[in-house]
């Protein structure tokens, strides 16, 4: 085993199960229980990446979600690529393949690094706002090169082989974080019988207990956590979710948890036969109460060259040694402001490696851990700090000096200590990201030198997340929070018997963020605040000097906190530096605002199952199978799949749409065609006031429509604009069947309910959607009656069953309502049967229809046929700015109805009274072979210069095989008074079409064909 930094024993890794992995093309071995980061450190890999702006070599700094540098490209195959994976959070698995995201030609020998070295000095924050402006024409060229250096990892270029899913969960208490506070909260809540969910972002639950030096009930702390977890695991009311990050805290205690179900196993989710697993799962949690037990992140100190590989967080050092059995170096210098950080030196020492010195910023450090270090003979240099790291690809030394925090000065001589590792700790920041997602501002506390969560309804912070750090206090705080949350969820909770913990005596920490250097920040070697975005202390100082005084401005000007780590390490340090520069306190400079996500989440996980063929429902009619089997091309209308046209294959050649539509049109005009019209919305309306209600929602009159009759109606909004149209049939004196447009069905149904429930509750009427119950087929054409007569018992005599009548009877032995209405201008029967029998009726019609050459047609032909008759399609010929009067449909407006129906009043506003409104007309192109472009704009004067004065546009345009020429429907300013005038349509190819304004009814203006 070539793991130079792996200890022979200790930690929670399994050395008997080695795992092979590849990093930057080189093979390495780690073991089960490793993260990619711990395995890289075990193998002595120092440089894991190059920085974004200056291309400086970077190593691993942290051991968790706060890691800014070790961001890698994961995946062995192209489709399995994942960009920007944090090595500290990626479990090692056999065959794992990763690369650095930056570095050319490679991360060790990086040519861009030269740019950083030479150009770095010309690239202060905001430099691009100050240059690349001349000449203006070159900006896009400059930008091309700027973009070349963009980004960390790369997107895969092949579709994702994996699937993802959501799962909705409800619970009484959600506990976020399974460290000491979270475990105590969970066990307290769980024992009460509450529905509990406990989640933790790490591979293993236990949090800080996993690398703790302390004893609980006289045994190593981790044994306590194992015990608690065993108990929780056995309880039916508890859901444990390891590898699950709470990413977003939304209103009313809605929390999203991202569970990485397979990312620790392989590049792609394994499947067992046909049983596929989702790669990850998004838990959408509605919790009555939330306990926030997310702990705290350690802050590094900001000193010169603090980005050279070998600079680590003190706590990370402890984690690597104690949890992973890895010592990431030989000789350590620790720079600290607090006692807790001393653990790093003690752990290092106990691992058998040399602790060169501890530079403690406090004048007089004391406490149990300090004593312990002293007793081990570790050199402690008080009132001092590491002011600069030496080394290029790895730390080679630390410059330590006596400093004065108040005056922000180096006050003593500089001692250079040879070492390969510098650990630093500037204190701890509670992890309050989630609590601020809902907009609650955190509060600064001077005593703990950190922000704690503001008050959020339904959320109880506990332990480190609210600045409670000593282990015993943390467990007590967690237990109390658990009990409090359980009570608040309405369940009685007992108190938990607290374990025995010997309280450790810690000295008071001191407030140090940026470490002073011999030179002022602007001239000192770079002191990094945000490692991922290469933001330095000098950069922040410059921003404040240029007038960026709020922390929001500083962040935006320097890009601090905008990386994939969202400033978990750097933000507080940055604020402290800005505060010092502006001579203000930290809370005066601003507060930190966090947004979801806590850590980045795969798009796929957020999308879940709602992709590919489940992206959006496909709605089918009862006849869909027939359409598919008869070669239909489909059109998307809302969510419906409607047959668009039915191309035939003649002599091995498939018809074009144009050919198919011409054939279908002529079939209807000359013989008989059939359309599946099932998608039209249908609403059953019953009640003594049904008629009155119709009179109020439609523009036209309904008072006298007799049972057995059908009428066409227009529906407006109260602004007078057309919103829907359709026919409504009187089934009985108090019983109507309304039809709506396909896309308008749900909207109209809600519209009727809205008015009934909010404005006219006194009207006795009920609405029920029957869209899906009835299948509708339109048989239309001169032979329609003959065909239908063969299969129905209804008397089709033209005087008995007139145009705009409906009758009931059977069709093909199936009870049917038949409506004699026409959207084609031909004799037409709309047959409604219960959808379960639709296929039988349809195929029976075809059996009988063969002799009439019964032709199925789709929406395209329907559009041509109705347009020849000047019949509108709402949404195509209208657009929400068209009134019934604009359409010339005054015949369908009941001006003298007693009730001021919806839309009426609006028709008398100044703008709706204008006579030059755009009005609905027909257009006949002067050249009969021209089919105008739908959407073509219309002008009166083709010779004007641009911008032209446009007077309308083409709404529908087709070639009519019946008329033998192209024709169009359009809206034209004052069009109703301009019949016979010529208008012009200037097209993109420079052609200007001429057309004559005509009536929109091109065929059979007297309606004789449909009345036969």
């Amino acid at each position: 085993m070539n793991q130079v930094n792996r200890l022979p024993r200790g930690g929670r890794v399994d050395r008997s199960h080695p795992l092979n992995f590849t990093f930057n093309g080189k093979q390495y071995v780690g073991c089960v229980g490793d993260t990619l980061a711990s395995a890289l450190l075990a193998n002595g890999v120092d440089v894991v990446n190059r920085s974004f702006k200056y291309s400086r070599p970077r190593g691993i700094v942290a051991a968790g979600a706060e890691e800014p540098n070790a961001v890698v490209q994961l995946g062995a195959s192209e489709a399995a690529q994942v960009p920007n994976v944090r090595a500290t959070q990626q479990a090692l698995y056999e065959g794992l393949t990763a690369r650095s995201t930056n570095g050319w030609p490679n991360v060790q020998r990086d040519l861009m690094g030269m740019v950083g070295k030479l150009g770095g000095t010309f690239m202060p924050p905001g430099f691009y706002y100050k240059t690349f402006m001349a000449p203006a024409s070159l900006w896009m060229t400059y930008e091309k090169y700027i973009r070349k250096s963009a980004g960390l990892g790369r997107s895969p270029t092949e579709p994702d082989p994996d699937s993802y899913e959501h799962i909705n969960q409800h619970c009484d208490v959600l506990i976020i974080g399974a460290g000491p506070a979270g475990l105590a909260a969970a066990i307290t809540a769980a024992r009460s019988g509450a529905r509990v969910i406990l989640c933790d972002e790490q591979e293993e639950m236990g949090g800080s207990l996993l690398d703790s030096r302390e004893l609980i009930d006289g045994a190593p702390a981790v044994q306590w956590s194992d015990r608690v977890l065993d108990e929780l695991n056995a309880m039916g009311n508890v859901t444990l979710l390891p590898r699950t990050t709470a990413n977003g805290y939304h209103d009313h205690n809605f929390v999203t948890l991202h569970e990485r179900r397979t990312e620790h196993l392989a590049d792609s989710a394994p499947s067992f036969g046909s049983r596929r697993q989702a790669r990850s799962r998004m838990h959408r949690i509605r919790a009555k109460q939330v306990v926030l037990a997310t702990g705290a992140h350690e802050r590094p100190l900001v000193y010169a060259n603090n980005d050279v590989p070998g600079n680590l967080l003190a706590g990370a050092v402890s984690t690597y040694v104690r949890r992973y059995g890895v010592v990431p170096g030989q000789k350590l210098v620790l720079s600290a402001t607090n006692d807790h950080a001393y653990r790093a030196a003690l752990d290092w020492h106990e691992a058998g490696r040399e602790v060169v010195a501890i530079a403690d910023a406090r004048a007089n450090p004391k406490g149990d851990l300090v004593d312990k270090a002293q007793s081990l003979g570790i050199r402690i240099i008080a009132q001092s700090a590491v002011i600069e790291a030496k080394g290029a690809d790895r730390v080679s030394g630390a410059r330590v000096a006596k400093i004065e925090i108040e005056s922000f000065k180096v006050v003593g001589g500089v001692e250079e200590l040879a070492c390969d590792t510098i650990a630093s700790s500037g204190g701890y920041s509670p992890v309050i990201h989630l609590s601020s997602h809902t907009g609650t501002r955190p509060t600064w506390r001077d005593d703990i030198l950190g922000f704690v969560p503001g008050e959020v309804k339904g959320l109880t912070p506990a332990g480190g997340a609210r600045g409670v750090y000593p282990l015993g206090d943390t467990i007590r705080d967690g237990a109390e929070a658990g009990a409090q949350a359980t009570q608040a969820a309405g369940i009685d909770a007992g108190a938990m018997a607290l374990p025995q913990i010997t309280a450790r005596q810690d000295g008071q920490a001191c407030a140090l963020y940026q470490v002073p250097h011999l030179k002022p920040a602007m001239r000192a070697p770079k002191q990094f605040v945000d490692l991922q975005n290469d933001v330095t202390a000098a950069g922040i100082e410059l921003a404040t000097r240029e007038g960026f005084e709020s922390i929001e401005h500083v962040k935006r000007y320097t890009a601090m906190g905008f990386g994939t780590d969202q400033g978990k390490l750097g933000n507080i340090n940055g604020m402290a530096i800005a505060a010092r520069c502006l001579n203000r306190s930290i809370p005066e400079v601003g507060t930190t605002v966090f947004r979801p996500n806590y850590t980045p989440v795969t798009f796929g996980a957020i999308v879940g199952r709602h992709c590919r063929e489940l992206f959006d429902p496909e709605r089918y009619t009862a006849l869909h199978q027939w359409h598919v089997e008869h070669g239909a091309e489909f059109e998307d209308v809302g969510q419906w799949k409607r047959p668009w046209y039915f191309p035939r294959t003649v002599n091995g050649k498939k018809e074009t749409m144009h050919e198919a539509v011409a054939r279908e049109c002529l079939a209807v005009r000359e013989r008989v065609g059939i359309l599946d019209a099932s998608t039209l919305g249908k609403i059953d309306i019953q009640g003594p006031d049904a008629r009155e209600f119709l009179g109020r929602v439609y523009t036209n009159k309904w008072a006298k429509l007799a049972p057995g009759r059908v009428r066409y109606g227009l529906m407006c909004k109260d602004d007078g604009m057309l919103m829907d149209d359709g026919t409504t049939s009187c089934l009985g004196e108090n019983h109507f069947l309304m039809t709506t447009t396909t896309g308008g069905a749900a909207g109209v149904m809600e519209w009727l309910e809205l008015w009934h429930q909010t404005e006219w509750p006194e009207l006795d009427v009920y609405f029920t959607s029957v869209t899906d119950h009835w299948a509708t087929m339109t048989v239309t054409g001169p032979d329609a009656r003959k065909l239908l007569a063969e299969v129905t018992d209804i008397d089709l005599d033209k005087d008995q069953f007139k145009f705009m009548d409906w009758r009931e009877g059977t069709v093909a032995g199936v009870p049917a309502r038949v409506f004699r209405i026409s959207f084609t201008g031909e004799l037409a029967y709309e047959i409604n049967v219960q959808a379960n029998y639709a296929m039988h009726v349809w195929t029976t019609l075809f059996e009988h229809g063969e002799k009439y050459d019964l032709t199925p047609y789709g929406t395209e032909t329907m559009h041509v046929l109705r347009a020849e008759k000047g019949l509108i399609i709402v949404g195509q010929d209208t657009d929400g700015s068209v009134t019934p009067e604009d359409l010339g449909m005054q015949w369908a407006i009941g001006y003298d109805k007693p009730y001021s129906w919806i839309g009426k009043r609006a028709l008398s506003r100044p703008d709706t009274r204008r006579t030059d409104r755009k009005q609905f007309v027909g257009l006949k192109p002067k050249d009969p072979n021209v089919v105008l472009e739908e959407g073509a704009q219309i002008v009166f004067d083709p010779n004007q210069s641009i911008p032209m004065s446009m007077v309308g546009h083409v709404t529908s345009s087709y070639y009519s095989p019946t008329l033998g020429h192209g024709f169009a429907l359009a809206v034209v300013k004052g069009g109703h008074e301009r019949m016979g005038e010529t208008v012009y349509l200037p097209m993109v190819d420079g052609k200007v079409h001429e057309a004559e304004i005509v009536s929109p009814v091109f065929l059979d203006p007297k309606g004789e064909r449909q009345n036969v």
């Binding site: 909705n168 429902p617 108090n734 029920t768 119950h773 032995g813 309502r817 379960n836 029998y837 039988h840």
Partner: protein, 211 residues
């Protein structure tokens, strides 16, 4: 209420009929049968579905008289007759869904109308417009959790409950008539989508589709 046109949409003969899932079965078939599937799915096709609208007090009397079931007046509840074949489900304060064995619905509508007389109400036959899917098995609840934001935990969703809620991007009536099984009342045009969704969501547990 009078002056309403009653109409039996079920033929007296026996022409072929197709349930809302016919196309799905035709296109995709059913998954291969597995020994130990976590979920079993079945369509209860061709039942009689009626939507009743009106005041609870008015309807209750008629429903009890005609069906022998007390109208569930409490929100989100479901009442069944002793055989379990006939049910009434609360949909809204003035709306209920009655499901009966196929073929009973028209006669039932007539009897209800007779019992209701001149009161203001509406009865609408929607039998062709929806279908019932049943979901059983130890993983049925997890499949539902993947599909609906409604809380399907037994504490929150006891037997006898039924709700209209979101199912993926469709809406369904989700109900729990018995301890073991769940029912989804699905609109015809969305049935294929719901079927595909269920198969996909249940894939990791293994799924049996009973025909």
């Amino acid at each position: 209420m009078s002056d309403v046109k009653e109409f039996d949409t079920r033929p007296t003969g026996s022409p072929s009929s197709e349930s809302p899932l016919a196309w799905s079965f035709h296109r995709r078939g059913t998954p291969p049968r597995e020994a130990s599937a976590g979920v079993t799915l079945r369509e209860k096709a061709f039942l009689g579905h009626l939507i009743l609208r009106g005041g609870a007090i008015v309807l209750d009397e008629a429903v009890r008289e005609v069906l022998g079931i007390t109208l569930p007046a409490r929100p989100n509840t479901l009442a069944l007759d002793n055989s379990g074949e006939r049910s009434i489900q609360w949909l809204s304060p003035d709306e209920w869904l009655v499901i009966v064995p196929g073929g009973e619905e028209f006669a039932l509508e007539g009897r209800l109308r007779k019992a209701l007389g001149q009161a203001h109400y509406s009865i609408v036959n929607v039998s062709g417009g929806q279908t019932v899917l049943t979901l059983r098995g130890e993983k049925a609840r997890e499949v539902l959790m993947k599909s609906t934001p409604y809380d399907v935990h037994p504490q929150a969703f006891p037997v006898g409950k039924g709700v209209t809620t979101v199912f993926a991007k469709a809406s369904v009536v989700l109900r729990r008539p018995t301890e073991e099984g769940w029912e989804l009342v699905v609109r015809r045009s969305f049935a294929d989508y719901c079927y595909r969704w269920l198969l996909d969501a249940a894939a990791e547990y293994g799924v049996i589709v009973e025909r």
